[in-house]
């Protein structure tokens, strides 16, 4: 497979290789952008995880099919966001058609989750912090210590006078709660 010109680095090199159909470049892109795109699509789909996953799958296929070279990361990310929004919208349309079809056979129909018109990838982060602030001070301190200050579980256990295992299980529970409360905020109209 031809490699990108030597002068190109970072996103420019990656996108040049993607545009040429380089499989290694797609693996690299997938590893770098999968999580970020999923988080963006969670916001676009207003916290509907199933819809976000469906849109993510479609987004990645579209990137593989239509990738083109970009000179900088910002332009590439803007393009990715546009592709992701379109994929989410198209998935929504499919679901609407399917729901209409199902409605003709039965009274049941599931309303389509509205797509946030100007969803921004920073919104999820903002909501997360908003939810974190609402946690009890001890829980918040634990989460902040682990994820914002980079403390290890052993260090936190030492500070709190608890066993490592109990701190780990507490972190699992707190993460789940934080996830649910963030998704609930995203689902609010």
């Amino acid at each position: 497979m031809p490699s990108a010109p030597a002068a190109l680095t970072g996103v420019a090199a990656l996108t040049h290789r993607l545009a040429k159909g380089d499989e290694a470049a797609f693996r690299e892109f997938h590893a770098q952008y999968f999580d970020r795109l999923y988080q963006f699509l969670l916001v676009v789909a207003r916290g509907q995880e199933h819809e976000a996953r469906e849109a993510l799958q479609e987004t990645l296929v579209r990137v593989a099919r239509h990738a083109r070279p970009f000179d900088d990361e910002f332009a590439f990310w803007c393009w990715l966001k546009a592709v992701a929004r379109n994929a989410a919208r198209d998935s929504g349309r499919k679901r609407t058609r399917y729901a209409a079809l199902m409605q003709s056979f039965s009274a049941f129909s599931r309303p389509e989750a509205p797509v946030a018109p100007a969803a921004d990838d920073g919104r999820l982060s903002a909501l997360l912090i908003e939810c974190l602030v609402e946690f009890a001070p001890g829980d918040r301190a634990l989460l902040e210590g682990k994820y914002l200050h980079g403390a290890t579980v052993a260090e936190l256990a030492g500070q709190m006078g608890q066993s490592i295992k109990s701190v780990e299980s507490r972190l699992v529970r707190l993460r789940r709660e934080l996830r649910e409360s963030t998704l609930a905020k995203l689902r609010q109209p």
Binding site: E23, R27, D35, Y38, L56, S125, L143, L178
Partner: protein, 138 residues
């Protein structure tokens, strides 16, 4: 923009093991799309490269470049007449190949070569016109 700590927390919270199957499935699907894109690109390039050759071929057919001039028969096993030795003999052109052919009689043919010694040789219907380079020996 997210700071790195938030990024880590977001990843821990939203991108857990549940997402692993989607991660693998989407990678496989994407790679297959990349392969098919590359294959289509190769086919398109080959088709593009073939276009000028097809165009040249079509132009050649239309302008008649393809018509091969009649070649003299390589060897005549037994000259009909010793005086014909060294005379180039061309194969008769098929009537079907000639779009406009006026049929003339032997006399009319000889009249066209008034000042040249010519002769018709062969069986009637398969005769060949022979033009002598040297004056006929009488």
């Amino acid at each position: 923009m997210k700071n790195p700590e938030h990024k880590e927390l977001l990843r821990e919270i939203f991108c857990d093991e549940e997402l692993q199957s989607l991660r693998e499935e989407s990678l496989a699907c994407g790679l297959s799309t990349v392969r098919s894109r590359r294959r289509n690109h190769t086919l398109r390039m080959a088709a593009l490269a073939a276009v000028p050759m097809v165009v040249i071929g079509v132009i050649g057919l239309r302008s008649g470049w393809y018509v091969i001039p009649p070649q003299p028969i390589a060897s005549v096993t037994a000259p009909v007449d010793s005086r014909l030795a060294g005379v180039k003999i061309y194969p008769a052109v098929s009537m079907a190949d000639a779009p406009q052919v006026t049929i003339i009689s032997d006399e009319e043919l000889f009249a066209l070569y008034k000042d040249q010694p010519v002769g018709l040789i062969g069986e009637p219907g398969k005769q060949r016109l022979v033009v002598y380079d040297e004056p006929a020996v009488r």
